[in-house]
């Protein structure tokens, strides 16, 4: 795999006439893991949405392998996996059907054993259960199943541990570290403490220091 680089330069975010952050820089290379934290409303989600190109920054550049992400949208989008506040799980579909859609969207051509993924995220034997019958935490886990199918280099995760219990959190922490050790990159926003022993973690704090 060739080396990749995700760079954010002098980024500014203005929401409802308030400057949320200014002059923000990020530089991630293969294996880079970055945690964004800050109080509610400090712009964590906005930052992640800017990083994946969903919203436009009022100022600053975001580049992928040296090219502005606006100019290489499809190349960039096939290299990232974004997991937002919403799970992207359809209530009217079963776990298996949801995973079929995720799999197709991820564009992985190899066949994937859905049952083993469900086992890993703690939803053993729930292939044919409608997502509308799952609890909030189970839906969140199902949404995170897309990470197991993704070939993406850069993961952008917004509050991935929301609604997850301790075990769920540990599973996701483990897969993030695995991904980064294998040369991937991840940026995630959370105000929870990460229990990642022995992996170098970069940190960005948004909002006032108080």
């Amino acid at each position: 795999m060739s080396m990749s680089r995700f760079k954010v330069n002098n980024l500014e975010c203005i929401r409802r006439d308030n400057i949320l952050f200014q002059g923000l820089n990020i530089d991630l290379e293969d294996g880079g893991l970055l945690q964004v934290d800050g109080v509610n409303g400090s712009g964590k989600s906005s930052l992640l949405q800017m990083c994946c190109g969903l919203i436009q920054a009022s100022e600053g550049e975001i580049s992928w392998n040296g090219e502005d992400i606006v100019n290489c949208r499809y190349q960039f989008q096939s290299d990232i996996s974004y997991f937002g506040h919403s799970n992207g799980v359809k209530a009217g579909l079963t776990a298996r059907e949801n995973m079929t859609v995720m799999h197709a969207l991820a564009g992985t051509s190899s066949s994937i054993d859905y049952s083993s993924i469900l086992e890993r995220i703690g939803l053993t034997g729930m292939e044919d259960v409608l997502s509308s019958r799952m609890s909030a935490g189970q839906k969140r886990r199902l949404g995170l199943a897309r990470l197991f199918m993704s070939q993406a280099k850069l993961w952008l995760l917004d509050e991935p541990f929301n609604a997850l219990d301790k075990h769920g959190k540990a599973v996701i922490e483990r897969i993030i570290v695995q991904h980064c050790s294998a040369g991937g990159m991840a940026i995630f926003a959370t105000h929870q403490t990460m229990e990642i022993a022995g992996y170098p973690l970069q940190h960005i704090h948004l909002g006032n220091e108080e």
Partner: protein
Amino acid sequence: MSEYLNIFFVILRRDLILAFRNKGEFVNPLMFFVIVIVLFPLAFGSDSTLLKQLTSGIIWVTALLATCLSLETIFRSDFEDGSIEQFTLSRYPLTLLVTAKILAHWITFGLPLIAISLFTSVVLSLPNQTIIALCITLVLGTPVLSLIGAITVALTIGLRGGMLLSLLILPLTMPVLIFSMLAIQNATVGQPISAEIYFLGGILVLAITLAPITTAAAIRIRLS
């Protein structure tokens, strides 16, 4: 190429499954369509000649109104549960995914609507050439309704404006209504209808070409 076909059919299948699991969403507008059509014979008396002249027009106007009702749900749940973000950020063009969704809408709304119209016009014993013209115009016209509707839905999503949606869709679909009614009137008096059909075909091709691109752009705007 096959990769793109694959994702197209996955999304199409997904939307069809969802429609059939959530029957109310696609059956209710069709019920509305049937009931409104039935109201007219009740109001005018079932054997009036006036009604015979009006039936195809009634079917078309009611189809427009029912489209407004049925379109409301096409993107709503996808916005609420974050699916649309995943579509937007996937490695595939959003235009392609949106096209699959619009096709799914037409299959669950346009096709049954054509079948019901055919049935109603036979029951109301319209002349054969009128029925044929009505069918041709509906086959060419209903996809245009789904396509144009998708743009306006994407623009108004999250604005809680069912009424706003109708106000946007109805003026935009007027050309379809005008050419369809011209074709049906000509057919009824035994005139050729090819000119109107070509126009409708042209509008359909234009809508298929441009509407998915516009819808995708509208979705990106709504997300930002």
